[in-house]
């Protein structure tokens, strides 16, 4: 596989940026990615969605007084808004000239998990997402402070119920276990005591605020220090711990490059991260430029986003239906704004079960046949998973125009080489023989039906195990 294509996929979602990386070089590409402005506009679909606590209470009151039908209606509307938000985000990922910001936002999204299902307020989920977007390349410590004090987070991890005398340890635990230090670097007492520091931190107008009556102002010991700490000070203490850089560095390596990063690499980049005062930008620059020089293609299983957007891009599908993509992601175990639990998607091998693999191949067949993804039923556990709904059945609304880019001047081997370079991180003799069975030596690239034949080759290639890896 061409290296620029590989890194276009790793730093984004498709081969779209390969040419740019080749032209301006990785370093410039990263600089320009870091320099991108983030879109601070509140999307239209959130216009009617309740935002302030007052608006929420008003909506709630309206709910109480009206009939149950109206209540259902309102709930339905919020679910629709949530679907709009997924589509809005997928569109950003797909359309951005430099998609690294969105890729990093998605990384943080899966790190500081706060799901719509539990938070229930679309605007708070949006705010949470915007904090990640704005701080995608910022400072890890600053980001941690901001995100813990988002309305979405305090509700998601039940800190709204954490009060003096009636402590709830959920947020305190995940702050140490999942968001920062990782298991083994703190004690159970730290969690209990941390809950005291977090007591009273609940939802506010724009972000989470302490409510005086629920605060616990006794002194406590936190990671060896004693005092009456509040959230910002607690995070300062966490970031003084020696093992703070490694958990996040490991996760970054996993998200972008290796399903199983070597521990020495984690230490190496982690130590640098600490030296840079947890500035994310220099860390990413160092990781990407040093790893770019290595021969490490095929070390990560594509996540469903990378899989779907790459296919759509290769097939030059204009205006893909993002809602259908979102549903596909859900079936593939990557429901945006809705991870199964606070740990987020595990990634790596867990992306691929046999059913998921089968569904990926079926989707590849559908798209290559010029049909859009349709509503996919829940995946059954038996082998007969392929749901009928997934098949489009001659519905004209679901027809897609697909067109593959390939060199019309080439002979069979050149065309095979071109596609291999774009799609497969490696191939062997047997693969090559199969490819040449599909495009034989006397294949005429100028003939009228040659597009069909090359599309068949493409279809075959994207169903190989090698296509699953970058």
């Amino acid at each position: 596989m061409d290296k620029n294509t590989l890194w276009s996929l790793r730093l984004g979602y498709s081969a779209k940026q390969a040419k740019t990386i080749e032209k301006i070089g990785l370093k410039k590409f990263l600089e320009q990615s870091f320099a991108t402005k983030f879109d601070s506009k509140i999307p239209d679909f959130l216009e009617d969605s309740p935002k302030s606590i007052k608006e929420l209470q008003k909506a709630k009151k309206a709910l109480m007084s009206e009939n149950p039908e109206a209540k259902k209606e309102l709930l339905k509307k919020e679910i629709q808004t949530s679907a709009e938000m997924r589509a809005w985000w997928i569109d950003k990922m797909n359309q951005d000239e430099f998609p690294l910001r969105e890729k990093m936002t998605c990384f943080w999204h899966n790190h500081y998990v706060s799901t719509f299902q539990k938070v229930k307020v679309n605007y708070w989920v949006f705010q949470h997402n915007q904090i990640l977007r704005e701080n995608a390349f910022g400072n890890y410590k600053t980001l941690t402070k901001k995100i813990i004090q988002s309305n979405a987070m305090v509700r998601y991890l039940d800190n709204v119920d954490n009060r003096k005398g009636k402590l709830n340890e959920n947020l305190s635990r995940e702050l140490l276990e999942l968001f920062t230090l990782g298991i083994g670097n703190y004690s159970e007492d730290d969690i209990k005591n941390g809950a005291k520091g977090l007591a009273g931190l609940g939802v506010g107008e724009e972000n989470a605020v302490y409510r005086r009556i629920f605060e616990d102002n006794d002194n406590f010991v936190y990671l060896g220090k004693k005092g009456n700490f509040k959230i910002d000070e607690m995070i300062d203490i966490i970031f003084e711990q020696p093992n703070i850089p490694y958990l996040i560095t490991r996760k970054i390596l996993k998200w972008f490059i290796y399903d199983n990063p070597k521990e020495e690499l984690v230490r190496y980049y982690g130590d640098y991260f600490k030296k840079m005062n947890f500035e994310i930008q220099p860390l990413l620059t160092k990781i990407f430029t040093e790893e770019f020089a290595k021969n490490n293609a095929g070390s990560k299983i594509k996540n469903p986003l990378e899989y779907a957007l790459q296919l759509m891009n290769e097939l030059n599908i204009e205006n893909p239906n993002e809602k259908l993509i979102a549903r596909f992601l859900k079936d593939q175990g990557m429901d945006l704004f809705n991870q199964p639990n606070v740990k987020g998607w595990d990634g790596g091998n867990s992306w691929l079960t046999s059913q998921v693999f089968l569904q990926r191949n079926n989707i590849a067949d559908l798209l290559c046949n010029g049909k859009n993804l349709t509503r996919a039923k829940k995946i059954n556990n038996d082998n007969s998973m392929m749901s009928d709904d997934l098949m489009t059945r001659q519905n004209p609304n679901l027809q897609l125009k697909v067109k593959l880019d390939w060199n019309k001047e080439g002979n069979n081997k050149e065309i095979i080489g071109e596609l291999k370079n774009r799609l497969l991180f490696q191939t062997d003799e047997a693969d090559q023989q199969d490819f040449e069975k599909i495009l034989k030596y006397d294949f005429d690239s100028k003939s009228e039906g040659s597009d069909n034949a090359v599309l068949r080759l493409f279809n075959f290639m994207v169903k190989t195990p090698e296509f699953q890896l970058i």
């Binding site: 399903d259 199983n260 095929g298 070390s299 990560k300 299983i301 091998n349 691929l352 079960t353 046999s354 059913q355 693999f357 089968l358 079926n362 067949d365 046949n369 038996d382 082998n383 007969s384 998973m385 392929m386 009928d388 098949m391 001659q394 490696q426 047997a430 023989q433 199969d434 069975k437 599909i438 495009l439 034989k440 030596y441 006397d442 294949f443 005429d444 003939s447 009228e448 039906g449 069909n452 034949a453 599309l455 068949r456 279809n459 075959f460 195990p465 090698e466 699953q468 890896l469």
Partner: protein
């Protein structure tokens, strides 16, 4: 196949589905209960099989004139009828013909023949009317109309790559890369050769573990009675033996497709062709005997064909790409005739045989007579070939 719906419909016609007797309803809702379903097994000879040295006009003096180096002598060929004879390697074919189970269709091809492997195979597999480019195969189109619900095992293709002939709107067929993988599940897991990349090994393992419809296949294999026939140890024989197990296990696939490569005999034809035809003969004959012994032969139609024949005149030790060639149809209660005239070696088109029977009329006959299907629905406009079944 949508047998269940068919039964429901029948019930409706005879007075409403509510009146359908219980036993018949459960009959219809069980997939593999009916024995005696028709299926077709295609054996595609890749590379362009030399028809003239397969089914030989050995009484035609011209044959020896145009092929001084590679003609097969009168004394070695296996006499058939009408002045034709089989290649000496095709003993089983000759014997099947004597038993009345093999038909030969002579000079099969299509107008404006294309001598490119790539395009000619595409034409055979898509069966277009005027050589227009079609993205779906003829069997794929048939299965689309035949299968009301997506049914992954309606067609079975044994190959490393998907088969254009079976490609349709819906994935009603599966490609099985290696029948051995279906031996037992635990064995298959140990089979994969490890690469140096653990992630790749993982994906390969997942990929090997899932072939859609593999459960149905496993069930059929488990149900299938063991065979009395010992198959040769060749790739084609292995594939056909496996197909016979699926048929005997009532998998209910309509179409099986497998192929044998190596027929592109530009050079050193005599020995290569002999080897290839031996492999073909031994594999097909074992399959035939197996089906006969298990009383399945009347339900299974075997079709042997190639994308084109070869040039009438030899090029020294081999032959170049040509046009029309014989097709062989075995079993399925065919009439066991030789259909069509002997190849006319004195009336050629640029050195190639002129086709007399269109391959699409053979397809039409198979669809009509064996699968009870109106072939015009998939765009075949030729008349069905008479005298085959």
């Amino acid at each position: 196949m949508d047998r269940r719906k068919f039964l429901t419909l029948t019930g409706t016609f005879t007075g409403g589905s509510l009146l359908l007797p219980d036993f018949l309803y459960s009959f219809g809702s069980q997939k593999n209960l009916i024995v005696g379903e028709q299926c077709i097994v295609f054996v595609q000879l890749n590379g362009g099989n030399d028809g003239l040295n397969t089914f030989i006009p050995f009484e035609d003096a011209l044959y020896y004139d145009v092929r001084p180096k590679i003609a097969l002598s009168k004394t070695e060929v296996l006499n058939s009828a009408k002045g034709m004879a089989f290649h000496p390697a095709l003993k089983g074919f000759a014997s099947m013909q004597q038993s009345g189970d093999l038909s030969v269709i002579q000079n099969v091809g299509y107008p404006n023949p294309v001598r490119s492997h790539f395009r000619s195979q595409e034409i055979w597999q898509t069966a277009p009317t005027h050589q227009e480019y079609l993205s779906d195969g003829w069997l794929g189109r048939y299965l689309d109309l035949q299968c009301k619900e997506h049914q992954p095992t309606a067609g079975i293709n044994i190959d490393t790559i998907d088969n254009l002939a079976l490609k349709g709107e819906e994935p009603n067929s599966i490609t099985v890369k290696d029948p051995d993988r279906f031996k037992t599940k635990s064995k298959a897991e140990n089979d994969g050769q490890l690469s140096k990349n653990p992630q790749l090994d993982f994906v390969r393992k997942v990929a090997n573990s899932v072939v859609e419809g593999s459960d149905d296949i496993q069930k059929a294999l488990a149900k299938s009675a063991p065979s009395d026939v010992v198959y040769p140890k060749t790739g084609l024989a292995k594939n056909l033996e496996w197909i016979s197990k699926l048929i005997k296990g009532n998998l209910n696939s309509k179409v099986y497709y497998t192929s044998l490569g190596g027929f592109d005999t530009h050079d050193n034809q005599l020995s290569i062709h002999k080897n290839k035809l031996t492999e073909l003969n031994d594999a097909v004959f074992s399959f035939y005997e197996d089906l006969k012994k298990s009383q399945q032969l009347q339900n299974v139609t075997i079709v042997v064909f190639s994308e084109f024949g070869r040039r009438v005149k030899d090029n020294g030790r081999g032959t170049d790409h040509g046009t029309a060639a014989p097709m062989f149809v075995i079993g399925g209660n065919n009439r066991g005739k030789i259909i069509g005239n002997n190849p006319n070696l004195s009336d050629l088109d640029n050195g190639d045989l002129k086709h007399e029977i269109d391959f699409r009329s053979v397809y039409a006959s198979i669809l009509k007579n064996k699968l009870d299907f109106d072939f015009t629905k998939i765009g075949i406009q030729n008349k069905a070939l008479e005298g085959l079944f």
